[in-house]
């Protein structure tokens, strides 16, 4: 599969054919059975590809650099060299601990530090003039940030709002991975509903209702809210398709139409 070929996912995200996701907020929701990390990998590869000339800022809470490096290398994208040329800013947040205090003040300091790190990284990318295709900020994943903050919802929402201001200020795109099933019970819906409200595009990955299969790894549901048109209406686009993951990418197809 050539890297230029547009597929269902890119069509649904409206990033095929030279368009970028600049200025938008993408929420990827997954569950224990079906990881949604591959959407991040795909977008990362897309943004870092020579044609799009974008830059990625990865806030990695979930995995070390070697994990992403190996995966993206198999997809034909060398993260190490991208990192050297400053098109990838990798912030290793695996061990990040926000100071653990009951009174929220000290925590706020932790978030402020995090955000200033983010801003510095954006400036570094900007200085080198590597961002013709825009900067994409990726958070993998937000539930880990929540864990580090011991569930301080207000602080996280504040942080997210700051991140979203960056989308208008610098034209950054924001891609957030979150675990939908954590918030499915009644007790804890807070963060997810806020995220869904903030997002322009929601991508959900789920297992098939019939369980896991070797040929179909799961289904994707993409809700694209679209931008406000001239006449003041926004068009919600809703798509649903199946996918099968491979080391060098993924196959997307309509339910039942997989060619074997």
């Amino acid at each position: 599969m050539s890297s230029n070929a547009s597929n269902f996912l890119e069509e649904a995200l409206e990033i095929g054919g030279g368009r970028t996701i600049g200025g938008r907020v993408v929420l990827v929701e997954d569950c224990v059975e079906t990881s949604g990390a591959f959407v991040l990998h795909h977008l990362m590869k897309r943004v870092l590809s020579p044609e799009s000339r974008g830059a990625v800022l990865l806030l990695a809470f979930a995995h070390p650099f070697s994990h992403y490096d190996r995966i993206l290398r198999k997809m034909g994208c060398n993260l190490s060299s991208q990192r050297e040329s400053n098109r990838l800013q990798f912030l290793d947040m695996l061990r990040m601990e926000l100071p653990d205090q009951i009174d929220g003040e000290i925590k706020e300091v932790g978030f402020q530090e995090l955000f200033s790190k983010l801003q510095t990284a954006i400036e570094v990318i900007g200085e080198r003039g590597n961002n013709d295709g825009g900067i994409t900020i990726m958070i993998d994943d937000i539930s880990m940030l929540e864990t580090a903050a011991h569930g301080c919802l207000d602080q996280i929402l504040d942080f997210l709002h700051y991140c979203i201001t960056l989308t208008s200020e610098y034209g950054c795109a924001l891609v957030i991975l979150s675990h939908g099933d954590i918030y499915s019970s009644d007790e804890a819906t807070g963060l997810l509903s806020s995220l869904e409200y903030l997002a322009d595009i929601v991508v959900k990955t789920e297992p098939l209702a019939t369980g896991l299969a070797a040929d179909v790894h799961g289904q994707l549901t993409v809700l694209n809210r679209g931008s406000l048109k001239d006449n003041g209406y926004s068009m919600n686009k809703f798509r649903n398709f199946h996918f099968k993951l491979k080391e060098n990418g993924a196959e997307y197809f309509y339910p039942g139409s997989r060619k074997t």
Binding site: V32, H67, R70, E97, M144, S185
Partner: protein, 381 residues
């Protein structure tokens, strides 16, 4: 790279497994130093054995170094201890450093319940396929003679022989009725801590980080593989009430620490005491997720449906298999396996077999006392 294909191990029989471990031992002099009990796989993975050969096969090699394995306990039965015991015993046989934390007052006492490797395995399982290359055959013969005369050797010598023999194997079968030899239980490399001693998790976290700091991971070279076993982390007796966030946070930092070291952490937890959203958080943090469930002794319907129901002691469910350095999920043929005790000694995992159903009566063949009148159509098509 000496990559062991994920699927290849699955197809192997017991004899082939034995043969491969012998060839590995002879190849120990090759540039890549072989560490006892560590096997290399695809995507830069290194595996240690879970202590149950069948589970290793199912998971595509064993527990991957640098991952957290979570076992969700059955609320009523201690089946998770079976997995934990075999995991720890396998590590001790390989002389891997071990950190064990448990909510009991005397965690070291648990070591006394660890099973011992099956010593007479050579007689029970025909390890030698005819027509193997003579070198390995000779090697094995030498060992066989040594085993036969084991009783004539002094205690010291035999244990040396023992550890030498075990070291060549990636995984052993364990005899649950026989306790592990005493001298394997002593040593600097075993750390036992009680979760009751401290009111918060910081002490445990410090222990883990001190333990893992001795096992750094440099790409390519592996010094030694460590094992962390934590029993019933969120059990009520630990007294971690209202500390859900602390526990999740502990798992997260444990995961981060393990990622950068040569160790596997196995954590069992009674999930029934956690709120649902936190169960999901734990599950997301686990790299490999297993759950065990006891089965009722006399469930007549189940007995009719499944063959070998009498021998089963429980069910093991594989929810998630670790996928480091890869985005492709591991899809297993089956996710539920029956835990059985073979000859009341060794733990085996088998796929569930549904008894063939007689089309005319709807009841399985070969079940005594099931007549046409008891038309139990447990499967409706």
């Amino acid at each position: 790279m000496a990559a062991v294909p994920r699927d290849g191990t699955g197809a192997r029989s017991a004899t082939a497994r034995a043969a491969s471990s012998f060839s590995r031992a002879t190849a120990a002099a090759s540039p890549k130093p072989a560490i006892p009990g560590v096997k290399h796989g695809l995507n830069g993975a290194a595996f240690v054995s879970s202590g149950i050969p069948d589970l290793d096969r199912i998971l595509g090699g064993g527990f991957q170094l640098g991952t957290v394995v979570m076992v969700m306990e059955d609320a009523e039965a201690p089946h998770h201890l079976l997995l934990l015991r075999n995991f720890m015993a396998q590590g001790l046989v390989h002389r891997h450093p071990l950190l064990f934390a448990s909510p009991s007052k005397e965690p070291r006492a648990f070591l006394g319940t660890l099973p011992s490797p099956v010593s007479g395995s050579k007689d029970e399982r025909p390890r030698m396929a005819p027509g193997l290359d003579p070198d390995t055959q000779d090697h094995d013969k030498g060992l066989r003679i040594a085993w036969q005369y084991k009783k004539y050797f002094g205690e010291q010598q035999s244990s040396e022989l023992h550890s030498r023999d075990c070291r060549q194997e990636f995984s052993n079968d364990f005899d649950l009725r026989k306790p592990l030899e005493r001298q394997l239980l002593n040593g600097q490399h075993i750390n036992c801590i009680s979760l009751l001693e401290s009111p918060n998790l910081e002490v445990l976290q410090d222990h883990c980080s001190a333990f893992l700091s001795k096992l750094p991971r440099n790409d390519g070279t592996i010094g030694c593989a460590g094992r962390i076993a934590i029993q019933s982390l969120c059990a009520p007796q630990c007294g971690y009430f209202e500390m859900d966030w602390d526990m999740v946070s502990f798992i997260r930092s444990l995961r981060a620490m393990v990622r950068s070291s040569n160790a596997v952490a196995v954590v069992t937890c009674p999930t029934s005491v956690l709120p649902p959203s936190f169960i999901k958080r734990w599950q997301h943090l686990a790299d490999t997720l297993l759950s065990v469930r006891a089965i009722p002794d006399e469930d007549k319907d189940m007995a009719k449906l499944l063959t070998g129901y009498q021998d089963m002691i429980g069910l093991l469910h594989v929810h998630k298999v670790a996928q480091l350095n890869s985005q492709v999920p591991v899809i297993l043929d089956a996710t539920t396996f029956s835990l059985k005790l073979q000859k009341r000694r060794t733990l085996v995992l088998e796929r569930l077999n549904q008894a063939p159903v007689d089309g005319s009566t709807g009841s399985p063949y070969g079940v005594p006392g099931s007549s046409g009148s008891s038309k139990c159509s447990s499967i409706d098509f």
